[in-house]
Amino acid sequence: MPLALTLLAAVGYGLAWYRLSRRGHRWPARRAACMLAGSLCVGIALLPPLASHDDRFEVHVIQHLLLAMAAPAFLALSAPATLALRTLPRRARRALLRVLHSPAVSVLTAPATAVTLDLGGLYVLYLTGLYQATERDSVIHAAVHLHMFLAGCLLSWAVIGIDPIRRRPGTRGRLAALVIAAAGHDTLAKLMYAWMPPAGGGPAAGRQLEAELMYYGGTAIDVALAVIVMTQWYLAAGRALARTRRRSAVAGP
């Protein structure tokens, strides 16, 4: 499912980019590169060789890092909704704008909701019997992947996204959301290390290694997200500073 969604989004993105450049408008190539990188992360996570071994827990952890954390971050930075708003026909654009500005989307992309859905899903997955159920039932398996991906997207859009959504919190709020999400992730990795239900996921020693992989891999991505949030802040503050200096230069001493 995430694979089909991403493939569709990537193709649509490419078409829209082409259309925009035919009209003579520019669209930053780095955003397109982010779309490509995000799609690659999803592809690596869900296609062989990784996918053919996802009964192994370490493969599952790598999938989790790619699918729920790295891919959504790249996709959020590719600003697909902004691109769509610039290229869709007028009626479709109005409809999209109505959706983006709807109360439902505001609630979903609020950091509190995104953090709750993201962490909640992970805690339920690893600390109840759900992970073991995914090993037996392919529908549950696919649903878990889809939830991880979508919840990761919500969180990424809330924290580092550049698409126009209403009531985006300020830098402090976004950093706070990131700290809570990262802390919840770290805590969960330690809980898994300590007492993840041992029925699935191989021998205990392996599971501990995987918990550490999740802990340190998650930290690396969270630090990268913090760098992105602060870079966005630094650039915006720099623009504001330049404006103030221009204004005071014009006004004179």
Partner: protein
């Protein structure tokens, strides 16, 4: 802007810049201790353990918060530092004061609340513990005292040699 407001504006701006430098230092200090804790004590020396068998859940939450929060604080602190330099409003004395307060405060919290009250993990295993605990918390107390000392007295803004060609004192 009317000239009668100018003196007040200058004062406000100076106070704002001092606050910025302090917060940048505090965040970098917390991040520094989190970073040293992780690299030196967990990874290089292997004194600290990833997980202590008797750790209660509240200890894990606290540890997760400070592990993740520490690294993110470091990132935020360094960006604030770059911003202070860009504005030409960096107050080095207050920055170092903030750094020592942040580092000492976090180290004291780690040493007393996390290691002792929450039973997270000990500084080192299979040794007589109290000299380690004493040294740990003493270093924290010294950092806090030094940081507090740097918060008093006069402090000037410094133009940074790193970022500006016309480096020099500009306060």
């Amino acid at each position: 802007m009317a000239s009668s407001h100018l003196a007040g504006d200058v004062c406000d701006a100076a106070a704002k810049e001092t606050r910025r430098s302090i917060w940048s230092g505090v965040l970098a200090g917390v991040g520094l201790v989190a970073f040293i804790d992780e690299t030196v004590f967990h990874q290089l020396l292997h004194w600290h353990h990833f997980y202590g068998k008797s750790t209660p859940a509240v200890g894990l939450v606290s540890d997760g918060l400070f592990h993740a929060g520490g690294f993110i604080a470091m990132v935020a602190g360094l960006f604030l530092l770059a911003d202070a330099h860009r504005r030409g409003g960096f107050v080095p004395k207050r920055w170092w004061g903030g750094l020592l307060l942040g580092a000492g405060g976090f180290q004291l919290y780690d040493g007393i609340v996390q290691h002792k009250l929450l039973g997270l993990h000990q500084i080192r295993y299979h040794v007589t513990l109290w000299p380690y605990d004493l040294t740990w918390n003493l270093i924290a107390a010294v950092m806090i005292a030094a940081g507090a000392a740097l918060m008093t007295g006069r402090a000037g803004v410094t133009g940074s040699a790193m970022f500006r060609s016309d480096a020099g004192t500009a306060a």
